[in-house]
Amino acid sequence: MRGAREPGRTVSLSRTEVRQIPGAFGDPFRAVEIMPGVTPIVSGLPFFFVRGAPPGNVGYYLDGVRIPLLFHVGAGPSVVHPGLVQRVDLYPGGYPARFGRFSGGIVSGETAAPLDRPHGEYNLRLFDAGAMVETPFGPKNRGSVLLGGRYSYTAFLLTQIASDTLLDYWDYQGRATYDLTPDDQISVFAFGSYDYLGQRTATQTITLFGTEFHRVDLRYDRKLGDRGTMRVAVTTGFDRSRAQEDRYVRDRVLGARTELSYYAGPRVLLRAGTDLQVDSYDVQVVSGTLAPSVARVASFFPSRTDLAFGTRADAVIAVAKGFEVTPGARVDLFASDGATALGVDPRLAMRTEITPSVRVLSAMGIAHQPPSFVVPVPGFQPGGLRGGLQKAYQTALGIEADLFEAITGTATVFHNAFYDMSDPLGTSPPQLSGCAPGTFPTDTLAGDRTRTSGGFGGGGGGGATCGIPRFPPGTIGPDRSGGGQQGADSRSTQTAANAFEVRTRGEAIGLELFVKKKLTSRLGGFLSYTLSRSTRTYEGRSYIATFDRTHVLNTALAFDLGKNWRAGTRFTFYTGLPKAPDPTDDATRLQPFYRVDLRLEKRWQLSKTAWISGVAEWLNATLTKEAIATTCTLGGCQAQLIGPVTIPSVGVEGGF
């Protein structure tokens, strides 16, 4: 069963297939959002829940190197040029022992191996341009050099329409390999990404937010005859997130890892490895009085040095013809700001061939993770292991079948249980914005709070205070002018800070279906559907997670129209978010969302290997707005809509 799909992995799409998915803009990492088990937060935003696990609990890897960020700012593309990526896999749970330190899912990208001829890809679109070239060198093409990157001229475009906003991003990749002998190879892979959001004033440019990361991975690979491979690698890196006045959080990364894959016998593949990572966090700050909530959260981010060391092993054992079992385990030691913790993660996967075209796959495992931030942001890793490690028990059982006419289908049921999870997004119960009619005391006059609430919430009152006494009735309230000698807190910051500190128990259960006919076929397509329920339990109270969506459906068709014309359309539908209790409406969820994406390509084959395409693509061609909350006024309550988040793109792509 060499090369067969691993049980803990969800569907895998090749680069050529991903190019045909409307709305993915040819980006393999963007294709993750169509995979079963993935629940979007908001359409177009590259943050998602995976089988109930929040975005901060999903790990990103490229060639085994952990990266802090997968996508550029906003609805931007991934941070790696698509031409370099051979495959992207999503491991939503019960993943192989080589992955750890995340209690949600794993998104793992693999770069394509060097070719024995010069080759490259380029693209020019409305908002960015990118290129990647690689060439062999040396006797018998023993070496190769690759250079790639992408640059966005969004800043220039925005300057033309909104002179005070600056949005900029770029990324780069470089790789060099050299075969010392037929069995020994050394290589270096460097890549990085930069994003910047700023505001131009009459006298200066103010940094609103900026992130960047850089990695250099130096590797030695050795083939162990025809029985296996071994890799020893050292990684250095630099992460930084910036805000105004040159304030920043910086992480200097140093890591080392070993990987071994070895056939100990005709039926046993051993896989083992170790990895060590040292993160030196430097929080560059200015002094000042903080709002109490911000001060509370600030204490989670001291300057410090974190260490994580892990060792793991598993064995893929072909017990009998058609039955394969993979027991494994990993152990991780975490140290941060004087605290230490140990995570022991057993894993077990099985694959049983019922008939030559039907297989049953199961995966289960335990995963530990240090406390995490809301969404992945370079350098923002809470320190001190306060609250202990997050823990997840992940189980899944699925059936995979080769159906007729090259159609494959999978059906998987899963159950994830999370303990001590940090999920600020999922634990903030839905709230009304404003006071619903009847909930504000009708015998009182509301105050004029224009410009007085200060902070992120603006003047928003928030439904939670409507009709709820602020202090015991019949008593004299406090004088809280100025917030008690500290910076004033808005309710939004209080809510965010409270949610950040909360540790909850979570559970997710669901069914995933995926049916695919190769998208590069004359008529190809896929259907991806997830039926799930995600809940949280906190202080003895259980409730549906804030970002639970009962149904998530993605389906696409790609047609060969002849004469090298290809067209594609994709339909996305998902259930609305849980809704805050609203006396004017019995609905328990916001309205559902759907969108249609379109793609049209004309390709010219210039030679045996060279080609060029004109591509028009449109994410959310239906211009659908999305409901994300409920707003109430004295006139009633109605859904708050955002968008439409829509991205039209016209461009040229080519390769040789």
Binding site: I41, V42, F209, R242, A243, Y248, V249, V283, Q284, V285, V286, S287, G288, T289, L290, A295, V297, A298, F301, P302, S303, V374, V375, P424, L425, S428, S433, P441, T444, A446, G447, R449, T452, S453, G457, G460, G461, G462, G467, P469, R470, P472, P473, G474, I476, G477, P478, R480, S481, G482, G483, Q485, S490, S492, T495, A496, A497, I628, A629, Q640
Partner: protein, 191 residues
């Protein structure tokens, strides 16, 4: 906008942390700008209002609504007497007050990294206060305060500057903004 706002707020919290005094690599603050008379009056105004706030919270906060006459020692010496009436609307988070504060060499100080938040003051005199004290953000404070004669003596700002006033004071508070006059001079401050 709750979803986006939450993400924005969370990221902003993160960004806010970058301004937090929580790390070892603290940049040296630049020298504070000079504090002229208006600046000193502003700090004094804040000192007076915060001393009154302390006196209120020490004496009347949490008591049943109605008439009261309470006296409390001040933290660094002296005393504060608060008397008058207070009613409340707990749902709205508002307390309506009609009070008189009698400060007798009431000493209070506050230290902070922000130069304009520093003071060490001894306050004597009688001040009336009328209006709404609000638990923000459910409502907003709106107050009028007056004194025929109030004596303030001490230091304001950082580095400390001598301050002395003995004269009428009129003061208004709208939310967290203070405006008024000290000895006829216009003064303002944010709480």
């Amino acid at each position: 906008m709750r979803v986006c706002r939450f993400i924005v707020v969370s990221l902003a919290l993160g960004a806010g942390l970058l301004g937090a005094g929580c790390g070892s690599a603290v940049t040296a603050p630049p020298a504070p700008p000079p504090c002229e008379d208006a600046c000193k009056d502003g700090v004094a105004l804040k000192a007076l209002r915060e001393t009154m706030k302390l006196a209120f919270n020490l004496t009347l906060q949490g008591k049943p609504v109605g008439e009261h006459d309470e006296t409390t020692p001040c933290p660094l010496g002296g005393s504060a007497r608060v008397f008058g009436s207070a009613t409340s609307n707990a749902l709205q988070g508002a307390t309506e007050v009609k009070l008189t504060y009698v400060l007798a060499e009431c000493r209070y100080l506050f230290k902070d990294d922000d130069a304009e938040d520093n003071y060490a003051m001894m306050i004597s005199g009688t001040m009336t206060q009328e209006g709404i004290l609000a638990v923000q953000p459910s409502a907003t404070s709106a107050l009028v305060m007056k004194s025929e004669s109030m004596r303030l003596l001490g230091t304001v700002y950082d580095p400390p500057l001598e301050y002395a006033a003995d004269c009428p004071i009129e003061l208004g508070q709208n939310g967290n903004k203070l405006t008024g006059t000290i000895c006829g001079r216009e003064a303002f401050s944010d709480l």
